[in-house]
Structures are given as structure tokens and as C-alpha cells.
């Protein structure tokens, strides 16, 4: 007994350390969104708003210099950041809708498909998820540059090509999430529907679709998040379009100001709220569904990076 207790303690201690490791950097980043420029920088500055000091003269910002909230205002007024965020939201929303529709169709057909058709299609789906993104990115770049030469009206590099590329990954992700739920909920209610004289389409509308809704919502939210956060593919297929990760990346690489922290903190809060909402939706649907818990859903939701 005693041994079990010490083992449990050791594991708990390890877990605490790992959670600190996971959360400390994020917490520090959020905290430093409120950081003032260094004392030396402040001494040489005579304006009223300390956040107006040029990025190169801010001094050391990785240690705490004092509290200010002005970075949030300066981040939100930055001429490059907000339009980039709007672009990312638009592309993300479009990618989420199209990915979810493609994924839904494939999930319905695949879940109960003949093995000899299912396995090759599944392999293709998994392949879209595991081919390194940098490879997809450069391949898409070549493809999107070549395509307008042969196909009239094919859009030039820009928001459209970012969207085209992201939907490949998004459709696969959505398919896995929706299928896990679809397989998990069994077919007894559908059978009852058929037995009671309901047709194919009305069974789908009245039974299958409502029960799939939580997974559909989860798939849409996750594909949106992945599209919104995606850097590598858009970085190669964007042409002159700026997305939020692209702007963020160049800020991170070339001149960091706490304004970036401020926006990142806002984004982080939004993501956490979205996750919480998704979690509540999924949980409610699970309790409502009673015994047929979709065990595969959490795992499927969590898989991809």
C-alpha cells in the first residue's frame, strides 16, 4: 500500500512539472504583453505614450520593466495586423465550411463501405495528414504557379490558393472526426427509422444529421482553428496576401514588440473560449446520447497537429 502511495506521489510530481513546462512560456508571454520598455529606453523618450517608442529602441523586453496596457491599443491599431487577422478569419471560415462538407460526405460513405474500397481511400486520407507540410507547401506552390498557364481563370497566388491548399488537410481532419462519431453511434436508430417507414433521405435529415451535429460543429471549429493558425502552407502559396500567422512570424523573427504579445494573448483567449464552447457542446451531446458514448471522438478530435 505504501509503495502505491509513493508511486502515485512521484507521478503527480512529474505531472506538475510537465504542466509547468507546458504553461509557463504561455503565461510569461501573456504577462509580458503588459511589459514596459526598459528604463534606459524610457529615459531617452519624451513622448506621452511609451508604446510609441520605435521597436529597435525598446531595450531588453525579456525581463520585467513595469506595467502598462498600452500595447493592446498599439497592437490593435497596427496597420498590418488587423487586416491580416481579417484575411485569416475569412480564409478559415471558407476552409471550415468546405472541409466539413467534403468530410461529411466521405465519412458517411466510408464508415460502412466495403473494405477493399475503404482501405485505399483511407490510406490517401492519412497520407494527406502525414506528408510533411513543407513538402505539400512547395508542391502546391509549383502547382499553383503552373496551373494558370493551362487552366484559364485559375486564380493567381493569393487567398484562393491558400484556401485550396488548406482544404486538403481540413477535409481529412473533418472526415476523421465525423466518422468517429458516426461509427460510435451505431445504426439502431436508423434501422428503427427505416422500419417505421421513413425513407432514406428523411431518415438522414431527421435521425442521422441531428445526431452527427456535435461532431460536425467540432469538425468545423477545428478546421477553422487549424486554417487560422497555419503558417507553412500560406507562407509559400500566399503571393502578396498577408495572413495573421505570416505577419506574426515576421514579427517574431525580426523585431518583437509587446504589441505582438498583446495580440497573441487576445488570440489565445479566443481559442480557449472556442475550445471551451466545443467541449461543452460535445459533452452535452454525449450525456444526451446516453449509453452510446462516442469513445473514438475525443481521440479523433485530438489527433492532428
Amino acid at each position: 500500500m505504501r509503495r502505491v502511495v509513493t508511486a502515485k506521489r512521484a507521478f503527480t510530481a512529474w505531472a506538475v512539472c510537465v504542466f509547468v513546462f507546458l504553461y509557463l512560456p504561455i503565461a510569461v508571454m501573456a504577462l509580458f504583453a503588459f511589459n514596459k520598455p526598459s528604463a534606459a529606453a524610457l529615459a531617452g523618450f519624451h513622448g506621452s505614450n511609451v508604446c510609441d517608442i520605435p521597436p529597435t529602441q525598446l531595450g531588453n523586453l525579456t525581463v520585467w520593466n513595469g506595467f502598462t496596457t498600452c500595447w493592446f491599443a498599439s497592437g490593435l491599431h497596427d496597420p498590418t495586423y488587423i487586416p491580416a487577422i481579417v484575411t485569416s478569419i475569412k480564409i478559415g471560415a471558407a476552409a471550415a465550411v468546405v472541409s466539413t462538407l467534403l468530410g461529411l460526405g466521405a465519412a458517411l460513405a466510408l464508415a460502412r463501405m466495403n473494405k477493399f474500397l475503404r482501405v485505399p481511400f483511407d490510406s490517401l486520407v492519412y497520407l494527406t495528414l502525414v506528408v510533411p507540410e513543407i513538402v505539400i507547401a512547395v508542391a502546391s506552390l509549383i502547382f499553383f504557379v503552373q496551373a494558370p498557364r493551362y487552366v484559364p481563370f485559375f486564380p493567381a497566388l493569393g487567398p484562393w490558393t491558400i484556401f485550396f491548399g488548406q482544404v486538403v488537410f481540413g477535409a481529412s481532419l473533418a472526415m476523421l472526426i465525423i466518422r468517429a462519431r458516426f461509427v460510435g453511434m451505431g445504426d439502431t436508430l436508423e434501422e428503427a427509422g427505416y422500419d417505421l417507414g421513413s425513407g432514406r433521405l428523411s431518415t438522414f435529415w431527421q435521425i442521422t444529421l441531428p445526431r452527427l451535429m456535435p461532431a460536425i460543429v467540432a469538425a468545423a471549429l477545428l478546421t477553422f482553428t487549424f486554417s487560422f493558425d497555419d503558417y507553412v502552407l500560406p507562407a509559400f502559396t500566399n503571393g502578396t496576401t498577408n495572413t495573421w500567422p505570416i505577419v506574426l512570424y515576421s514579427a517574431v523573427r525580426f523585431g518583437i514588440t509587446p504589441a505582438v504579445n498583446a495580440l497573441a494573448t487576445i488570440m489565445l483567449s479566443v481559442t480557449i473560449v472556442v475550445i471551451a464552447v466545443t467541449g461543452v457542446v460535445l459533452r452535452r451531446s454525449r450525456t444526451r446520447a446516453g449509453t452510446d458514448t462516442d469513445q473514438a471522438t475525443p481521440a479523433a478530435t485530438l489527433r492532428i497537429g
Partner: protein
């Protein structure tokens, strides 16, 4: 029919029914067409480019020119490939060492707070990769507290890259391992210890073996993307410790040598194909491990 029945989990233990509502197979065709155009299309043209000849700035002639691949096998690029794979291997190993005990702790010891702990593992994973890497950069910065007071100044070195890999990919490993630990029957371990097995032996012979598929899936799930990593080496090594992915990117951004970049990409895919094949085998066979 049989396939349809054994995937419907809630039917287990009941008599087999002939009923199985199916949705028409053509519902897969929109996504199939989409994949064919926007996934297989780009990969095909990538192969064509890797065998093409660069005839000028941004101009190429298609053909069957394998010289780009000979270039890839030059000592500089072999070294970068080796470095990338070793680093991804080390990163995966560290992730396993750090992550397995967490998954074990959640599955074995937690009851009320299990879902909360799972959520705590997941939240960083769902938040922006770029923001997390940036957050790590602030912590590791050579003017920051870690360097100042603890003397840990690893920014822009391979150690920073290793920390970044573990930091970003940890949740991706914990999840499948946790899923397989959750499915485990703990009474087997109890039986073994009751019969006199030492706890560690019981763990090795039972727990570890039963969760091995989850561990393999999780390890591949982090190893494969780590090998193609682009953001982490760029931000945390500042170009001092480039992965293959960065060299590929450079060929398209600054060097404008697209055939060579394509050949590097194809080579990376070939280097990873064995791991990818094992992963797909596991994932399609045992939906729940991959999913």
C-alpha cells in the same frame, strides 16, 4: 456486410443483424476529386520538377534528369538529412520519456480530474503553434531570466530546437498513449502482482505490452512531423541548425532552384516512407489508434 457490422460498436454482443444502412459510395467522390486535383496533382508536378533541368532563372525544361538527386547525395545534404532524422529521433524519444508517465498518471490515478487533466494537455495543442514557439523564445532568450539566474543560455542552439520539439509535440504523443491506457484492463496488472510479480515487472510485461500500439502510433505521430519541421529550427536556432525542411524552403524562397528543392522534398518523403507506411498500417487497421 461483415465489415459493416464489426464497425458498429454498439452492436457488440448482440445477434448479428442483416440490416446495415449504407450511404452511396459516390459521396466520397467530391473529396476524392479534390484530393486528386489539389493533393496528388501538386505531388505529381513535384516529381516532374525534381527530374527537370534548370535552364535559367525560374525557367526549367521537363525531362528525366537525375542530376538533382545526385546533388542530394552530396556530403553536405546527407549531413543535413542525418541531422534532421537524428534530431527528430531524439525529440521523439524525449517526448516519450516525458509524456508516457503523464498519460499513465492520468489513466491510472485520476478519476474526478481526469477530463480536466486531459483538457490541460490539449489546450496548448489547440493554440497556435507559432505563438507557443514564440512564447518559448521569450523564456529561452539570452537576456531573459533563465539565462541570467540559472545560467541556462541555449537560445539559437540545437538544445533550444530539442526543447522546442518536445514542447510543441508533447500533447500529440500523450493523447494516443492515454487512449490505449484507458482501454487497458487494470485487473490484469492486479492479478500479476497478486501472483507475486514485482510492480515494475508487471508494468513491463502487461501495461507496456498492451499499450505498445498506442506508443508506436504516438511516436510516429510526432516523429514524422518533427522530421519535416520548418518553424521550430527557424525561430529557435535562428538558422544555425537547419533541418531539411528549411533547406527545401530556401530553394524556393531565396535560391530559386526549384528542381533541387523538389528533389530534396522527394528525398525527404522517401526517407520517411517507411515510417509513414507503418503509421498508415496501424491507423487504417485500428481506427481508434490512428484516430
Amino acid at each position: 456486410m461483415a465489415a459493416a457490422e464489426d464497425v458498429t460498436g454498439s452492436d457488440v454482443g448482440r445477434t448479428r443483424r442483416s440490416f446495415s444502412p449504407r450511404y452511396p459510395a459516390w459521396l466520397t467522390s467530391p473529396s476524392f476529386v479534390y484530393y486528386a486535383i489539389f493533393f496528388l496533382g501538386p505531388l505529381a508536378i513535384l516529381v516532374a520538377f525534381s527530374l527537370a533541368t534548370q535552364t535559367g532563372f525560374n525557367a526549367i525544361t521537363y525531362g528525366f534528369d537525375t542530376s538533382q538527386f545526385h546533388l542530394v547525395t552530396g556530403s553536405l545534404y546527407v549531413k543535413i538529412f542525418a541531422r534532421t532524422l537524428v534530431m527528430a529521433g531524439v525529440g521523439s524519444l524525449l517526448t516519450m520519456i516525458v509524456g508516457y508517465p503523464i498519460a499513465y498518471w492520468m489513466a491510472r490515478y485520476l478519476t474526478t480530474y481526469k477530463m480536466l487533466a486531459l483538457l490541460l494537455v490539449l489546450v496548448p495543442f489547440w493554440t497556435s503553434f507559432l505563438i507557443r514557439t514564440y512564447a518559448l523564445k521569450i523564456i529561452l532568450d539570452s537576456h531573459g531570466y533563465l539565462a541570467k539566474y540559472l545560467g541556462i543560455n541555449i537560445m539559437y542552439t540545437k538544445y533550444a530546437v530539442a526543447v522546442g520539439l518536445v514542447y510543441n509535440y508533447l500533447p500529440l504523443f500523450i493523447i494516443p498513449v492515454f487512449a490505449s491506457l484507458e482501454r487497458m484492463d487494470w485487473s490484469l496488472v492486479e492479478a500479476a502482482t497478486d501472483l507475486g510479480a514485482k510492480p515494475f515487472n508487471a508494468f513491463r510485461e502487461i501495461t507496456l505490452r498492451l499499450t505498445l500500439p498506442g506508443v508506436v502510433t504516438g511516436a510516429l505521430l510526432v516523429f514524422i512531423p518533427m522530421s519535416g519541421e520548418y518553424i521550430i529550427p527557424n525561430i529557435l536556432s535562428g538558422g544555425n541548425y537547419e533541418f531539411v525542411g528549411n533547406v527545401i524552403g530556401d530553394q524556393f524562397v531565396s535560391a530559386q532552384n526549384q528542381p533541387f528543392g523538389s528533389a530534396l522534398s522527394i528525398s525527404l518523403m522517401i526517407a520517411l516512407s517507411g515510417f509513414v507506411a507503418i503509421y498508415i498500417l496501424f491507423a487504417t487497421k485500428e481506427e481508434r489508434f490512428g484516430a
